[in-house]
Subunit: 261 residues, 4 copies
């Protein structure tokens, strides 16, 4: 029935499954990872076909996962590509795209006392295939802060400070090797200070001093990320969005920019 | 069929409709209000009845709304009580409870330049009826901030600052007259500073100075709200929860307390 | 300080305030409306300026609201345009965009018993200005359902049914007069059946019979909306996304398409 | 400073960290698990102390995680208990509670074609300690469906069907051994049909036939879970909440009940 002509013969751009939660295993640079991501897998649909065979989309995901248990993929984008390749053998399409959204937890040391701390980042990996060519878009969501330089100047050294979250997305060729950890670094260096899950008093003093030495608007943070990303990652379309959760307002302030490297 | 004996004859505590979005009109102290709340309306269900007649629950809401268009109720709890009274005439129950969650927008003046600003608060109004007796629970969710006194001491005057949100709930007799605006005031005075949608430079300087003069842990804010609420509102069970969105961490800190007045 | 040269002289595409909750009054075709929307207001920022004067963005919103109390605007896009016009007199920009997201509640009659019911729709109004020219994008989010035709065929008349939500967006010239109510109609007629807040038994039977007479995949719904929107609204870019919350799966299925009229 | 007397000397019930995302490893019945949960860790605070030493709370979490990398804990509640024990050595409290919320993915076979499918469940593990005694509360959130028996009777075999989600919580002694998988089974058997990530046509027909053979109100589902849980789990306080996302309405219907076993 899915292959019947529909009443309205309109090409559809994206048809598929979304909000599918599953488990994904990878092995990246010798370290094993287990993720429980949310997945969207969509294909284009010709105006002459009534529907996609949705179960084949899900099957391409579950069969890839089954293989991974034995043979771990190298990265989340390798998992995405494997799923699209499998799907191309069972369901016709011109364009397909898989989006994998999950959390990456990285162990760190606190800045002064050197204790172990676990830092969590939102990550998104999109792999698309069009006419057999693969591309990808990688995103990291990183929590930091802003410190208002204008209030600091007007009060002679005081300011309002708040949590901020920045999103860095890189769109590029599939084989352009990029570490999510490097993307996180690009974002963290652009905040007045990086943040940590654990801070002992000595660490906390260090972070507060760093914030006051380094006041930044949300615009400054976005530009700092754009600048660092352009220098570090080549042949990418770069998109940045930073949202500052103002401590003196109920609303947020935002700055977005993009660049090509 | 809803009145048939069910297979498992178990009394149920709360059965009804939830996440119902609608429109509610009130007239409180001479000012007209229009709300678009989310409503939950639940009743208890005897073990001998298979189901509630859900459409009668919805009808008690829509018929009350229809009446309000002509004759505005005095407050959201009056609307809630009117709905429960109507329901008691069409559906048997021992206990019933309606929850109305919405936003209250209050016009203010900025602290120094005196410009108009609109401030938004989350509000919740619960009205319950048990054996014919009405009670209520009123909640306000208010955005403010915390300023760490410990970091301020250790750095000699600097600190980390962040947005915080406090929730004040009062449970009391139905006829205990309480203004949501007074509840908001109780919360706002307990923060290092209140916040505003609009702040010109002069206002911003005033707020930042106020924050630094008044550093508070999340525990201090919760205790300040408890103390003010106990003095202001009589014969209430008081519950307070404050969440501080730390600017030096990815996680939040929280303090909860309760009291009886 | 906002007018100083920044360290990284990069043009930013969108700088401003977001997640600002306020109150907005309109009068559309003789009926008065009160909304409590979430607003985003952003402008582009030249690489030579360090920051936007955020308070002027908020002021353009609050001053417009103050005027509306006396003189109600005709529609949400009129409110948006008034805010952008006001802002153009106080802050330099080439491009500006305001997004107003809120709920529209429309009274209806149930299909068979003719009782009053209140139906709620998510709506979004974006107004943009570039080099003095205004455009707009209107969105409605409408809840309905899907009924699987494939399962119906295979089981000889049974099927799985589920709630679905469709999003219709129209991008067009500012002066292309479009009723949000007409957009809602375009979406509702494309579902197996429209839904209601209140349904008495007779109404419920009618809706269930209608669903079974009219089975549709999520792809059918998206195409039905595209087709109706193209016929009804001229000179628009049309975007449709429908998400079906499968009752036989934990995940959702989705279909997206677009057209130009 | 945290040990100073506060201005308002009020005991606080729960003070601590919340929304902390981290990684947790366990080994349960021979199978290794990796979770990336959200954690809340709170203690009571004496009216004579101004604040909790928040970093010690975080440290008790991160040090436990560090140990787990070498020596995996047997279950999420073992992890929770280990954290509370560690904390009791570094920070004074009378009561403490840790909440661990995450996703559990269980591999399954589709009902007819026997293909591998991955099923995801929301799980919550709370461990509390009061005067040295440990207790726990385990929660599973399971997606299923409801099929209206009333509409089926009135239409002679048709009905409205929709996704539903049920929450089963068990409160009990810490050493009452309970498998989350068994809790999931208790919930799944109470729905008209269980659901799967993957369903080939033959499986889908089986599920749809099962739904129609087994129509249930949201009240029936809640009672079915209560009944099964009481038989299966001894010496527990049992709480159940089921929410049905109606396909004929914009709102949900809900049924809650509790029992003691």
């Amino acid at each position: 029935m899915q292959d019947d002509k529909p009443q309205v013969q309109e090409d559809l751009e994206r048809v598929g499954v979304t909000n599918l939660k599953t488990i994904v295993l990878t092995e990246w640079k010798g370290r094993k990872y287990t993720f429980t991501p949310k997945i969207e897998l969509v294909i284009d649909l010709d105006g002459k076909k009534r529907g996609a065979h949705m179960s084949r989309l899900v099957e391409s995901i579950t069969e890839s996962i089954e293989e991974e248990i034995v043979l771990r993929h190298g990265s989340l984008e390798d998992v995405g590509k494997a799923i699209l390749e499998k799907l191309s053998g069972t369901h016709p399409f011109n364009k397909a795209r898989i989006s994998i959204d999950t959390e990456l937890v990285i162990p760190r040391k606190t800045p002064k006392t050197g204790k172990m701390t676990m830092e969590s980042y939102g990550i998104g990996v999109k792999v698309s295939r069009e006419d057999g060519v693969y591309r990808k878009a990688l995103t990291v969501a990183v929590i930091g802060n802003t410190v208002c330089p204008h209030a600091m100047e007007k009060t002679g050294g005081k300011s309002h400070i708040q949590r901020a979250e920045a999103f860095l997305e890189l769109e590029t060729r599939y084989d352009n090797l990029i570490d999510l950890e490097d993307m996180v670094s690009c974002v963290e260096q652009a905040f007045p200070s990086e943040v940590y899950g654990l801070l002992k008093t000595e660490d906390e003093v260090y972070i507060v001093e760093k914030m006051f030495a380094n006041p930044k608007f949300v615009e400054d943070v976005t530009r700092g990320i754009l600048d660092a990303a352009r220098k570090r990652f080549k042949k990418c379309r770069i998109n940045v969005r930073t949202v500052s959760q103002e401590s003196i307002h109920r609303h947020d302030v935002v700055a977005e920019g993009s660049a090509v490297s």
